[in-house]
Amino acid sequence: MSEYNFAYLDEGTKRMIRRAILKAVAVPGYQVPFASREMPMPYGWGTGGVQVTAACLTPADRLKVIDQGADDTTNAVSIRKFFQRTAGVATTERTAEATLIQTRHRIPETPLTEGQILIYQVPIPEPLRFLEPRETETRRMHALADYGLMHVKLYEDIARNGEIATSYAYPVQVAGRHVMDPSPIPKFDNPKLSDSPALQLFGAGREQRIYAVPPHTQVISLDFDDHPFVASKAPHACALCGDDGSYLDEVITDDAGGRMFVCSDTDHCATRRAAGHAGTQAEAIA
Protein backbone atom coordinates (compact mmCIF):
# COMPACT_ATOMS: atom_id res chain seq x y z
CA MET A 1 0.00 0.00 0.00
CA SER A 2 2.69 2.52 0.95
CA GLU A 3 4.54 1.90 -2.31
CA TYR A 4 1.72 3.54 -4.26
CA ASN A 5 0.00 6.89 -4.25
CA PHE A 6 -3.63 6.48 -3.15
CA ALA A 7 -5.50 4.78 -6.03
CA TYR A 8 -2.29 4.29 -8.03
CA LEU A 9 -2.40 7.36 -10.30
CA ASP A 10 -0.37 10.49 -9.51
CA GLU A 11 -2.30 13.57 -8.37
CA GLY A 12 -1.72 15.50 -11.61
CA THR A 13 -3.23 12.69 -13.66
CA LYS A 14 -6.21 12.42 -11.34
CA ARG A 15 -6.82 16.18 -11.60
CA MET A 16 -6.80 15.91 -15.40
CA ILE A 17 -9.23 12.98 -15.35
CA ARG A 18 -11.46 14.71 -12.79
CA ARG A 19 -11.71 17.83 -14.96
CA ALA A 20 -12.68 15.64 -17.91
CA ILE A 21 -15.33 13.86 -15.82
CA LEU A 22 -16.89 17.19 -14.80
CA LYS A 23 -17.12 18.35 -18.43
CA ALA A 24 -18.59 14.96 -19.35
CA VAL A 25 -21.28 15.41 -16.69
CA ALA A 26 -22.01 18.93 -17.95
CA VAL A 27 -22.60 17.68 -21.53
CA PRO A 28 -24.26 14.26 -21.10
CA GLY A 29 -23.29 11.78 -23.80
CA TYR A 30 -20.52 13.92 -25.28
CA GLN A 31 -17.13 12.20 -25.41
CA VAL A 32 -14.51 14.32 -23.63
CA PRO A 33 -10.93 13.66 -24.77
CA PHE A 34 -8.48 12.92 -21.96
CA ALA A 35 -4.81 12.04 -21.74
CA SER A 36 -5.22 8.35 -21.00
CA ARG A 37 -2.26 6.83 -19.19
CA GLU A 38 -0.45 3.55 -19.53
CA MET A 39 -1.86 1.29 -16.85
CA PRO A 40 -0.34 -1.91 -15.48
CA MET A 41 -2.75 -3.96 -17.61
CA PRO A 42 -3.27 -4.12 -21.37
CA TYR A 43 -5.69 -1.99 -23.35
CA GLY A 44 -8.92 -3.92 -23.65
CA TRP A 45 -8.77 -4.96 -20.00
CA GLY A 46 -10.58 -1.90 -18.77
CA THR A 47 -7.87 0.74 -18.56
CA GLY A 48 -10.41 3.50 -19.19
CA GLY A 49 -12.73 2.29 -16.47
CA VAL A 50 -9.79 1.78 -14.12
CA GLN A 51 -8.61 5.37 -14.61
CA VAL A 52 -12.09 6.79 -13.99
CA THR A 53 -12.43 4.58 -10.92
CA ALA A 54 -9.02 5.71 -9.64
CA ALA A 55 -10.05 9.36 -10.05
CA CYS A 56 -13.33 8.82 -8.17
CA LEU A 57 -12.35 6.47 -5.33
CA THR A 58 -12.22 7.69 -1.74
CA PRO A 59 -11.07 5.56 1.21
CA ALA A 60 -14.68 5.28 2.38
CA ASP A 61 -15.86 3.60 -0.84
CA ARG A 62 -16.88 -0.01 -1.19
CA LEU A 63 -15.92 -1.22 -4.66
CA LYS A 64 -17.58 -3.89 -6.77
CA VAL A 65 -16.14 -4.99 -10.11
CA ILE A 66 -18.03 -7.10 -12.64
CA ASP A 67 -17.14 -8.56 -16.00
CA GLN A 68 -20.17 -9.58 -18.10
CA GLY A 69 -22.16 -9.53 -14.86
CA ALA A 70 -19.79 -11.84 -12.98
CA ASP A 71 -17.71 -10.90 -9.95
CA ASP A 72 -15.50 -13.98 -10.20
CA THR A 73 -13.99 -13.75 -13.68
CA THR A 74 -10.33 -12.91 -14.31
CA ASN A 75 -10.82 -9.29 -15.36
CA ALA A 76 -13.08 -8.49 -12.41
CA VAL A 77 -10.91 -10.25 -9.86
CA SER A 78 -7.69 -8.61 -11.04
CA ILE A 79 -9.15 -5.08 -11.10
CA ARG A 80 -10.72 -5.57 -7.67
CA LYS A 81 -7.35 -6.75 -6.29
CA PHE A 82 -5.60 -3.85 -8.01
CA PHE A 83 -7.65 -1.32 -6.05
CA GLN A 84 -7.50 -3.34 -2.83
CA ARG A 85 -3.74 -3.09 -3.09
CA THR A 86 -3.33 0.48 -4.37
CA ALA A 87 -6.23 2.24 -2.62
CA GLY A 88 -6.89 -0.02 0.35
CA VAL A 89 -10.64 0.24 -0.24
CA ALA A 90 -13.21 -2.27 0.92
CA THR A 91 -14.67 -4.49 -1.78
CA THR A 92 -17.89 -6.40 -2.14
CA GLU A 93 -19.69 -8.66 -4.58
CA ARG A 94 -23.09 -7.41 -3.43
CA THR A 95 -24.56 -4.77 -5.73
CA ALA A 96 -26.64 -3.26 -2.95
CA GLU A 97 -23.61 -2.78 -0.69
CA ALA A 98 -21.32 -1.16 -3.28
CA THR A 99 -20.83 2.60 -3.52
CA LEU A 100 -18.80 2.38 -6.71
CA ILE A 101 -19.22 -0.32 -9.34
CA GLN A 102 -16.87 -0.79 -12.26
CA THR A 103 -18.46 -2.86 -14.99
CA ARG A 104 -17.59 -4.50 -18.25
CA HIS A 105 -20.62 -5.03 -20.50
CA ARG A 106 -23.48 -5.30 -17.99
CA ILE A 107 -25.69 -3.21 -15.74
CA PRO A 108 -26.47 -5.10 -12.52
CA GLU A 109 -29.97 -6.59 -12.20
CA THR A 110 -30.41 -5.06 -8.73
CA PRO A 111 -31.66 -1.50 -9.29
CA LEU A 112 -28.98 1.07 -8.56
CA THR A 113 -29.49 3.73 -5.91
CA GLU A 114 -28.64 7.39 -5.46
CA GLY A 115 -25.43 6.82 -3.52
CA GLN A 116 -23.84 4.70 -6.25
CA ILE A 117 -21.61 5.45 -9.23
CA LEU A 118 -21.51 2.97 -12.13
CA ILE A 119 -18.29 3.10 -14.18
CA TYR A 120 -18.29 1.37 -17.57
CA GLN A 121 -15.26 0.02 -19.39
CA VAL A 122 -15.61 1.11 -23.01
CA PRO A 123 -13.74 -0.37 -26.00
CA ILE A 124 -14.99 1.89 -28.84
CA PRO A 125 -16.69 5.03 -27.49
CA GLU A 126 -17.74 6.48 -30.87
CA PRO A 127 -21.15 5.10 -31.89
CA LEU A 128 -20.63 6.37 -35.45
CA ARG A 129 -17.14 4.88 -35.87
CA PHE A 130 -18.17 1.81 -37.86
CA LEU A 131 -20.23 4.03 -40.15
CA GLU A 132 -17.65 6.80 -40.57
CA PRO A 133 -13.99 6.04 -39.78
CA ARG A 134 -12.75 9.66 -39.79
CA GLU A 135 -12.67 11.30 -36.36
CA THR A 136 -12.93 14.75 -37.94
CA GLU A 137 -16.20 13.72 -39.60
CA THR A 138 -17.80 12.01 -36.60
CA ARG A 139 -16.89 15.03 -34.47
CA ARG A 140 -18.66 17.27 -36.99
CA MET A 141 -21.67 14.94 -37.07
CA HIS A 142 -22.01 15.22 -33.29
CA ALA A 143 -21.59 19.01 -33.51
CA LEU A 144 -24.46 19.22 -36.02
CA ALA A 145 -26.50 16.48 -34.32
CA ASP A 146 -26.40 14.83 -37.74
CA TYR A 147 -27.41 11.30 -36.80
CA GLY A 148 -29.20 10.29 -39.98
CA LEU A 149 -26.51 7.76 -40.79
CA MET A 150 -27.26 5.85 -37.60
CA HIS A 151 -30.93 5.61 -38.51
CA VAL A 152 -29.92 4.38 -41.98
CA LYS A 153 -27.86 1.66 -40.31
CA LEU A 154 -30.80 0.59 -38.15
CA TYR A 155 -33.08 0.71 -41.21
CA GLU A 156 -30.70 -1.54 -43.14
CA ASP A 157 -30.89 -3.98 -40.23
CA ILE A 158 -34.66 -4.09 -40.71
CA ALA A 159 -34.39 -4.34 -44.50
CA ARG A 160 -32.01 -7.30 -44.28
CA ASN A 161 -33.26 -9.10 -41.18
CA GLY A 162 -36.82 -7.94 -40.71
CA GLU A 163 -35.90 -6.41 -37.36
CA ILE A 164 -33.17 -4.32 -35.76
CA ALA A 165 -30.47 -6.98 -35.39
CA THR A 166 -28.16 -4.87 -33.23
CA SER A 167 -28.20 -6.75 -29.94
CA TYR A 168 -25.44 -5.06 -27.92
CA ALA A 169 -23.79 -1.61 -27.88
CA TYR A 170 -27.23 -0.46 -29.05
CA PRO A 171 -27.06 3.30 -29.77
CA VAL A 172 -28.90 5.70 -27.49
CA GLN A 173 -29.67 9.40 -27.48
CA VAL A 174 -28.88 11.15 -24.21
CA ALA A 175 -30.87 14.11 -22.88
CA GLY A 176 -32.33 14.68 -26.33
CA ARG A 177 -28.99 15.63 -27.86
CA HIS A 178 -25.90 13.42 -28.13
CA VAL A 179 -26.03 9.92 -29.59
CA MET A 180 -23.91 7.67 -27.39
CA ASP A 181 -22.51 4.15 -27.40
CA PRO A 182 -23.58 2.62 -24.07
CA SER A 183 -20.55 0.27 -24.31
CA PRO A 184 -21.21 -3.36 -25.33
CA ILE A 185 -23.97 -3.95 -22.79
CA PRO A 186 -26.77 -6.17 -24.12
CA LYS A 187 -29.69 -4.10 -25.35
CA PHE A 188 -31.63 -5.83 -22.57
CA ASP A 189 -29.85 -3.39 -20.23
CA ASN A 190 -30.58 -0.24 -22.24
CA PRO A 191 -33.78 0.73 -20.37
CA LYS A 192 -31.77 0.83 -17.12
CA LEU A 193 -29.62 3.65 -18.53
CA SER A 194 -32.52 6.07 -18.43
CA ASP A 195 -33.62 7.98 -15.34
CA SER A 196 -31.23 6.01 -13.11
CA PRO A 197 -30.79 7.38 -9.59
CA ALA A 198 -27.05 6.59 -9.94
CA LEU A 199 -24.39 8.57 -11.79
CA GLN A 200 -23.02 6.65 -14.81
CA LEU A 201 -19.49 7.31 -16.07
CA PHE A 202 -17.83 5.77 -19.13
CA GLY A 203 -14.08 5.43 -19.65
CA ALA A 204 -12.34 4.40 -22.88
CA GLY A 205 -8.60 4.03 -22.22
CA ARG A 206 -7.24 3.17 -25.65
CA GLU A 207 -9.52 5.69 -27.38
CA GLN A 208 -8.90 8.31 -24.66
CA ARG A 209 -12.49 9.37 -24.08
CA ILE A 210 -14.65 9.90 -20.99
CA TYR A 211 -18.40 10.45 -21.10
CA ALA A 212 -21.26 10.46 -18.64
CA VAL A 213 -24.96 10.08 -18.01
CA PRO A 214 -25.98 12.08 -14.93
CA PRO A 215 -28.69 10.70 -12.63
CA HIS A 216 -32.30 11.14 -13.75
CA THR A 217 -31.31 11.78 -17.35
CA GLN A 218 -33.46 10.62 -20.24
CA VAL A 219 -31.71 8.00 -22.36
CA ILE A 220 -33.63 6.77 -25.41
CA SER A 221 -32.70 3.74 -27.51
CA LEU A 222 -32.94 4.76 -31.18
CA ASP A 223 -35.76 3.08 -33.07
CA PHE A 224 -38.65 3.64 -35.47
CA ASP A 225 -42.36 4.12 -34.79
CA ASP A 226 -43.18 0.91 -36.69
CA HIS A 227 -40.15 -0.99 -35.36
CA PRO A 228 -39.93 0.00 -31.71
CA PHE A 229 -36.93 -0.87 -29.55
CA VAL A 230 -37.27 -4.24 -27.77
CA ALA A 231 -35.07 -5.15 -24.81
CA SER A 232 -34.63 -8.81 -25.72
CA LYS A 233 -33.13 -11.76 -23.85
CA ALA A 234 -32.96 -15.53 -24.24
CA PRO A 235 -36.54 -16.92 -23.79
CA HIS A 236 -35.70 -19.08 -20.78
CA ALA A 237 -35.59 -19.00 -17.01
CA CYS A 238 -32.29 -19.27 -15.16
CA ALA A 239 -31.47 -22.95 -14.64
CA LEU A 240 -30.03 -22.23 -11.22
CA CYS A 241 -32.30 -19.64 -9.62
CA GLY A 242 -35.37 -19.87 -11.84
CA ASP A 243 -35.57 -16.15 -12.60
CA ASP A 244 -37.29 -15.58 -15.94
CA GLY A 245 -36.67 -11.83 -15.92
CA SER A 246 -32.87 -11.59 -15.72
CA TYR A 247 -30.34 -11.55 -18.55
CA LEU A 248 -28.98 -15.03 -19.28
CA ASP A 249 -25.73 -16.59 -20.41
CA GLU A 250 -25.86 -19.80 -22.41
CA VAL A 251 -23.44 -22.33 -20.94
CA ILE A 252 -22.34 -25.46 -22.82
CA THR A 253 -22.25 -28.27 -20.29
CA ASP A 254 -20.90 -31.24 -22.28
CA ASP A 255 -19.86 -32.24 -25.81
CA ALA A 256 -23.19 -33.87 -26.60
CA GLY A 257 -25.23 -30.71 -27.10
CA GLY A 258 -26.06 -30.19 -23.44
CA ARG A 259 -26.58 -26.58 -22.43
CA MET A 260 -28.11 -24.47 -19.74
CA PHE A 261 -29.11 -20.84 -19.36
CA VAL A 262 -27.95 -19.09 -16.20
CA CYS A 263 -28.07 -15.54 -14.89
CA SER A 264 -25.24 -13.40 -16.21
CA ASP A 265 -25.37 -11.39 -12.95
CA THR A 266 -23.73 -13.76 -10.43
CA ASP A 267 -24.67 -11.65 -7.39
CA HIS A 268 -28.32 -11.53 -8.48
CA CYS A 269 -28.39 -15.31 -9.00
CA ALA A 270 -26.61 -16.13 -5.73
CA THR A 271 -28.88 -13.79 -3.78
CA ARG A 272 -31.97 -15.44 -5.23
CA ARG A 273 -30.67 -18.95 -4.53
CA ALA A 274 -29.82 -17.96 -0.95
CA ALA A 275 -33.41 -16.77 -0.60
CA GLY A 276 -34.66 -20.23 -1.59
CA HIS A 277 -35.38 -19.78 -5.30
CA ALA A 278 -34.36 -22.74 -7.45
CA GLY A 279 -34.25 -23.45 -11.16
CA THR A 280 -34.51 -26.73 -13.04
CA GLN A 281 -30.84 -27.61 -12.58
CA ALA A 282 -30.28 -26.05 -9.15
CA GLU A 283 -29.16 -29.41 -7.77
CA ALA A 284 -26.43 -29.63 -10.40
CA ILE A 285 -24.22 -27.21 -8.50
CA ALA A 286 -25.59 -27.78 -5.02
Binding site: R18, R19, V25, T58, P214
Partner: protein
Protein backbone atom coordinates in the same frame (compact mmCIF):
# COMPACT_ATOMS: atom_id res chain seq x y z
CA UNK B 1 9.08 37.15 -2.12
CA UNK B 2 5.99 39.26 -1.92
CA UNK B 3 5.57 40.65 1.58
CA UNK B 4 2.69 43.03 1.13
CA UNK B 5 1.36 44.17 4.52
CA UNK B 6 -1.95 42.31 4.24
CA UNK B 7 -0.46 38.84 4.11
CA UNK B 8 2.59 36.94 5.26
CA UNK B 9 4.73 34.17 3.90
CA UNK B 10 3.09 31.79 6.37
CA UNK B 11 -0.35 32.62 4.95
CA UNK B 12 0.91 31.70 1.53
CA UNK B 13 2.52 28.42 2.51
CA UNK B 14 -0.31 27.08 4.69
CA UNK B 15 -3.98 26.34 4.13
CA UNK B 16 -3.71 23.51 1.62
CA UNK B 17 -4.48 19.81 2.09
CA UNK B 18 -2.52 17.94 4.73
CA UNK B 19 -3.22 14.59 3.03
CA UNK B 20 -3.61 15.60 -0.61
CA UNK B 21 -4.52 12.28 -2.29
CA UNK B 22 -7.32 11.51 0.16
CA UNK B 23 -8.63 15.05 0.69
CA UNK B 24 -8.55 15.79 -3.03
CA UNK B 25 -10.54 12.59 -3.66
CA UNK B 26 -13.12 13.52 -1.02
CA UNK B 27 -13.30 17.07 -2.36
CA UNK B 28 -13.75 15.84 -5.91
CA UNK B 29 -16.59 13.52 -4.95
CA UNK B 30 -18.43 16.42 -3.29
CA UNK B 31 -17.88 18.54 -6.41
CA UNK B 32 -18.95 15.69 -8.71
CA UNK B 33 -22.05 15.08 -6.60
CA UNK B 34 -22.98 18.76 -6.80
CA UNK B 35 -22.51 19.03 -10.57
CA UNK B 36 -24.27 15.78 -11.38
CA UNK B 37 -27.24 16.77 -9.20
CA UNK B 38 -27.84 20.49 -9.87
CA UNK B 39 -29.40 22.18 -6.87
CA UNK B 40 -27.78 19.84 -4.37
CA UNK B 41 -25.52 21.64 -1.90
CA UNK B 42 -22.45 19.72 -0.73
CA UNK B 43 -19.81 20.54 1.87
CA UNK B 44 -16.11 20.80 1.14
CA UNK B 45 -13.45 20.88 3.82
CA UNK B 46 -9.68 20.75 4.13
CA UNK B 47 -8.56 24.12 2.74
CA UNK B 48 -7.91 27.35 4.61
CA UNK B 49 -7.25 29.86 1.82
CA UNK B 50 -6.61 33.56 2.41
CA UNK B 51 -9.51 36.02 2.31
CA UNK B 52 -11.65 36.56 0.37
CA UNK B 53 -11.57 33.00 -1.02
CA UNK B 54 -14.15 30.74 0.63
CA UNK B 55 -13.24 27.32 1.98
CA UNK B 56 -15.30 25.62 -0.71
CA UNK B 57 -13.69 27.61 -3.52
CA UNK B 58 -10.31 26.91 -1.96
CA UNK B 59 -10.95 23.16 -1.97
CA UNK B 60 -12.21 23.36 -5.57
CA UNK B 61 -9.03 25.20 -6.54
CA UNK B 62 -6.81 22.59 -4.89
CA UNK B 63 -8.78 19.72 -6.46
CA UNK B 64 -9.01 21.07 -10.00
CA UNK B 65 -6.24 23.58 -10.69
CA UNK B 66 -2.64 23.03 -11.71
CA UNK B 67 -0.10 24.46 -14.14
CA UNK B 68 -2.20 23.30 -17.12
CA UNK B 69 -5.34 25.27 -16.14
CA UNK B 70 -5.31 29.02 -16.89
CA UNK B 71 -7.19 30.84 -14.12
CA UNK B 72 -8.90 34.21 -14.08
CA UNK B 73 -9.22 35.97 -10.73
CA UNK B 74 -11.98 38.56 -10.92
CA UNK B 75 -11.58 41.96 -9.25
CA UNK B 76 -12.01 41.52 -5.52
CA UNK B 77 -10.35 38.12 -5.63
CA UNK B 78 -7.30 39.36 -7.52
CA UNK B 79 -5.34 40.15 -4.36
CA UNK B 80 -1.61 39.68 -3.70
CA UNK B 81 -2.35 37.19 -0.93
CA UNK B 82 -4.61 35.07 -3.09
CA UNK B 83 -2.32 35.28 -6.12
CA UNK B 84 0.56 34.02 -3.97
CA UNK B 85 -1.54 31.23 -2.44
CA UNK B 86 -2.85 30.04 -5.82
CA UNK B 87 0.64 30.21 -7.31
CA UNK B 88 2.28 28.25 -4.50
CA UNK B 89 -0.35 25.53 -4.10
CA UNK B 90 -1.61 25.04 -7.65
CA UNK B 91 0.79 26.77 -10.06
CA UNK B 92 -2.16 27.84 -12.21
CA UNK B 93 -1.19 30.67 -14.59
CA UNK B 94 -3.31 33.81 -14.13
CA UNK B 95 -4.90 35.04 -17.35
CA UNK B 96 -7.62 37.30 -18.72
CA UNK B 97 -11.26 36.21 -18.65
CA UNK B 98 -11.19 35.36 -22.37
CA UNK B 99 -8.29 32.91 -21.95
CA UNK B 100 -9.44 31.29 -18.73
CA UNK B 101 -10.31 27.65 -18.21
CA UNK B 102 -11.40 28.49 -14.66
CA UNK B 103 -12.53 31.78 -13.12
CA UNK B 104 -13.12 32.73 -9.52
CA UNK B 105 -15.02 35.76 -8.27
CA UNK B 106 -18.38 37.16 -7.25
CA UNK B 107 -21.10 37.16 -9.89
CA UNK B 108 -20.86 40.94 -10.24
CA UNK B 109 -17.07 40.87 -10.57
CA UNK B 110 -17.21 38.17 -13.26
CA UNK B 111 -19.42 40.32 -15.52
CA UNK B 112 -19.74 40.32 -18.41
CA UNK B 113 -19.81 36.51 -18.43
CA UNK B 114 -20.05 36.59 -22.22
CA UNK B 115 -16.24 36.90 -22.14
CA UNK B 116 -15.73 33.33 -21.00
CA UNK B 117 -15.00 30.39 -23.27
CA UNK B 118 -18.07 28.33 -24.20
CA UNK B 119 -16.25 25.64 -26.16
CA UNK B 120 -16.40 25.04 -29.89
CA UNK B 121 -18.96 22.99 -31.86
CA UNK B 122 -16.34 20.24 -32.33
CA UNK B 123 -15.06 20.46 -28.73
CA UNK B 124 -17.78 21.73 -26.39
CA UNK B 125 -15.63 20.59 -23.44
CA UNK B 126 -13.21 23.45 -24.08
CA UNK B 127 -15.41 25.76 -22.05
CA UNK B 128 -14.75 27.75 -18.90
CA UNK B 129 -15.79 26.69 -15.42
CA UNK B 130 -16.90 29.61 -13.24
CA UNK B 131 -16.54 29.41 -9.47
CA UNK B 132 -18.95 32.06 -8.22
CA UNK B 133 -18.56 33.21 -4.62
CA UNK B 134 -21.89 34.10 -3.04
CA UNK B 135 -23.12 35.37 0.33
CA UNK B 136 -26.17 33.19 0.14
CA UNK B 137 -26.59 29.62 -1.10
CA UNK B 138 -29.91 27.95 -0.44
CA UNK B 139 -32.11 25.28 -2.02
CA UNK B 140 -34.73 27.90 -2.86
CA UNK B 141 -35.36 30.45 -5.57
CA UNK B 142 -34.83 29.68 -9.24
CA UNK B 143 -36.46 26.52 -10.57
CA UNK B 144 -34.07 24.01 -12.16
CA UNK B 145 -34.90 21.14 -14.50
CA UNK B 146 -32.77 18.93 -16.70
CA UNK B 147 -30.14 16.17 -16.48
CA UNK B 148 -29.30 15.21 -12.90
CA UNK B 149 -32.58 16.50 -11.48
CA UNK B 150 -35.46 14.25 -10.42
CA UNK B 151 -38.35 16.48 -11.45
CA UNK B 152 -37.37 19.96 -10.32
CA UNK B 153 -34.86 21.47 -7.92
CA UNK B 154 -34.44 24.97 -6.56
CA UNK B 155 -31.32 27.00 -6.01
CA UNK B 156 -30.63 30.61 -5.07
CA UNK B 157 -29.07 32.13 -8.20
CA UNK B 158 -27.76 35.69 -8.64
CA UNK B 159 -29.92 35.98 -11.77
CA UNK B 160 -31.68 33.74 -14.28
CA UNK B 161 -31.32 35.50 -17.64
CA UNK B 162 -27.60 34.75 -18.03
CA UNK B 163 -28.15 31.06 -17.32
CA UNK B 164 -31.07 30.86 -19.72
CA UNK B 165 -28.91 32.44 -22.41
CA UNK B 166 -26.16 29.97 -21.55
CA UNK B 167 -28.57 27.02 -21.84
CA UNK B 168 -29.82 28.30 -25.18
CA UNK B 169 -26.36 27.67 -26.64
CA UNK B 170 -26.25 24.05 -25.51
CA UNK B 171 -24.10 21.96 -26.00
CA UNK B 172 -21.87 25.03 -25.85
CA UNK B 173 -21.73 27.14 -22.70
CA UNK B 174 -19.85 27.66 -19.47
CA UNK B 175 -20.41 25.58 -16.35
CA UNK B 176 -20.84 27.13 -12.94
CA UNK B 177 -20.20 26.31 -9.30
CA UNK B 178 -21.57 28.50 -6.53
CA UNK B 179 -19.63 28.62 -3.29
CA UNK B 180 -20.58 30.03 0.10
CA UNK B 181 -18.39 29.28 3.10
CA UNK B 182 -17.74 25.53 3.01
CA UNK B 183 -20.77 24.83 0.78
CA UNK B 184 -20.87 24.32 -2.96
CA UNK B 185 -23.58 23.82 -5.61
CA UNK B 186 -23.21 23.06 -9.30
CA UNK B 187 -25.06 24.42 -12.31
CA UNK B 188 -23.93 22.70 -15.53
CA UNK B 189 -24.80 24.26 -18.89
CA UNK B 190 -27.39 21.49 -19.40
CA UNK B 191 -29.73 22.83 -16.69
CA UNK B 192 -32.89 24.75 -17.63
CA UNK B 193 -33.39 27.71 -15.30
CA UNK B 194 -36.66 29.55 -14.61
CA UNK B 195 -37.20 32.41 -12.22
CA UNK B 196 -38.62 31.21 -8.91
Amino acid sequence: MNTAPNHTLTDTLTGAFTDAPVQAAQGFRAILDALSRPGRITRLTGAAPPEPLSVAAGVAALVLLDSTTPLHLAPGHDTPALRAWIAFHTGAPLVSAEAAMFAIGTWEALQPVSRFAIGTPDYPDRAATLIVETDRLEPGGARLTGPGIDGTARLSLPETAAFQANRARYPLGFDTFFTCGDRLAGLPRSTHVEAG
